[in-house]
């Protein structure tokens, strides 16, 4: 049987369709995004269209064989978006389907450990951003701009849409040019090609009040910038009101 590289459109559904083709049609040597794929002299390749029936089927099989937890981890790993994320997922799912679901806990296996590492990083940043998002009032909207390392917007959507049910909120991932818009308990991740809107905002009284509070709550005899840096690394500070 020939093996080949699969190309997909960059969506999670597209990736699931590639996995479907890998298991039910021709085994894949690798999965790549269409627009960044470099053609290889020998490897044959094929573009896989995103079809709902394939992706739904694959999603259901993942949940059935690996469980809810691990299938949600696969989605988290997908949001890692660094290096060969697709191939990390491909090898991991392949290993678990062939050797059994218990291999998902085989942390010392190189395939599993690279998968776990990606998941861990995405989860950690997701948790951080639940705390790090800072809203500013802009008309009737609450607007926030963030610069996360991984594409965490889909993961924090549920939390923020529930917490701010009565508000209209926009969380803007400036570098990825997408935004999370939420209102009335529902949320959408939409393309949002604008500059960072927070730069034009005027200083609000409660922002100054917050900075005052932030300065006074620290105990002067225990000042410890290194410890503070461990918890709030410098790269996150540009979006935080209290460090501006």
């Amino acid at each position: 049987m020939i093996e080949m590289d699969y190309l997909y459109d960059g969506t999670y559904e597209g990736l699931l369709c590639c996995l479907y083709c890998h298991f039910l049609k021709i085994p894949a040597t690798g999965i790549y995004q269409k627009h960044i794929y470099q053609r290889h002299l020998i490897n044959p390749y094929r573009e896989v269209p995103s079809l709902e029936k394939y992706s739904d089927y694959m999603d259901q099989k993942l949940k059935q064989h690996l469980g809810e937890l691990i299938s949600s981890q696969i989605f988290q790993c997908f949001l890692y978006e660094k290096g060969e994320t697709e191939n990390i997922i491909l090898r991991f799912v392949d290993l678990c389907f062939k050797k059994g679901a218990k291999y998902a806990g085989f942390h010392t296996h190189p395939i599993v450990s690279s998968f776990d590492e990606a998941v861990r990083k995405v989860k950690y940043e997701t948790h951080r951003y639940v705390g790090y998002v800072r809203f500013i009032q802009m008309g009737e909207y609450l607007y926030s701009s963030i610069h996360p390392q991984y594409n965490i917007l889909p993961l924090i959507g549920g939390h923020f849409s529930d917490r701010y049910k009565g508000e209209k909120i926009i969380i803007h991932d400036v570098e990825r040019k997408i935004a999370l818009a939420a209102n009335d308990g529902n949320f959408l991740v939409i393309p949002f090609d604008k500059t960072d809107l927070s730069k034009h905002a005027k200083n609000n009284f409660f922002e100054i009040l917050w900075k005052t509070y932030f300065d006074h709550i620290a105990i002067k005899d225990r000042i410890n910038p290194k410890l503070q840096r461990n918890f709030v690394p410098l790269k996150y500070r540009k979006d935080l009101t209290e460090f501006k």
Binding site: T108, Y132, F214, I217, A218, K226, F231
Partner: protein
Amino acid sequence: MDDVLMNKLAILAEGAKYDVSCSSSGIERKNSGKGIGSARSFGVCHTWAADGRCISLLKLLMTNDCIYDCSYCINRSSNDVSRASMSPEEIALITIEFYRRNYIEGLFLSSAIEKNPTDTMEKMYQILKLLRRTYEFNGYIHIKAIPGADQALIEKCGYLADRMSVNIELPSTSSLKLLAPQKNYKQIIAPIENIKIGISRNSDERKHFRKAPKFVPAGQSTQVIIGATPDSDKSILRVSEKLYGEYNLKRVYYSAYMPVNKGSNLPALLTPPPLLREHRLYQADWLLRFYNFSVNELFSSGENNMDIQMDPKLYWALKNLNLFPFEINNASFEELIRIPGIGHTSAYRIIRERKIAHLDFDGLKKTGCVIGKSKYFVTCKGKYYGDNLDEKHIHKSLVKNNDYKQISFFG
């Protein structure tokens, strides 16, 4: 008006900062649909102040004007500090506006006693009512139960707050007499006892009536000052053990004493706060709560204080070397978590891995345990990788010796 409010906030935050508790965990609640907010069981920290302590809740005193004169406290009545009070409306407004901007996870309200305990509790109840009923606020609220306040009032507050706490501050009656002669132990322990009874009664009620309102759903906590009095680690941890065991407390916080006042019964003003000791006490506290250790085990060698140079688990292991080494491939979970360098996460990983393949030393490294420590106490597939299972040797290789001195120029 704005400047006045800002000044008041600064003074009241200054007064509240010595309270350690900041956790917002232990309760999962969705937005009710009418107002703002939710609570997450894992707790969320929003930022970290310059001292490296997290800010999760808006920590605030209602007032710092106090009738008591406890000698360890910055707000004691005989101190000359600026005094301020905030009205319930102001506190509720600041909480909501901070919360809307995702600065905080909720409110931690404490207070000095301006007139009498019941009056203070009554004002706290007003803030709770404003937040929960008027603003329909679903976020986290932690309030202090004021010892000596009307019992019925404390109970009413318990139905609106998530966590309540009473600070013990001083771990023994003799220390209390020395530093806070206006207070007595019975008066402090009474609200803790009552809240405990309330919580257990409430959990019975909720078995029969699923929709019965929750009473202090995130449990209660307390705080003990370290280093202001000569109390030993053992006696402090005994108090904690009792509070966890008999009163079902969620947390006991330890606060290294900052010398803020002069006093014949207090450490001198320039004494550095015992930060390392505080850290070791937290570590021991974790061993009590999550690692099935008892105070007797930790102090089995007859000492009253821990060795400050190493963590309490390593200290215990060195005193009980006859139990080691454990074989990593067949030790139970309870045994695994007793090994220095292995915690819950790595113990779970080791157990999951063992189901698939035997773990060797390289595998153990990848589980995320502190290999430099744990290698002395385990065997992997029967082989021992630490070079010598000997107390002196392990002590020498794991504990950094910090008592070097500069040689004097003049001999």
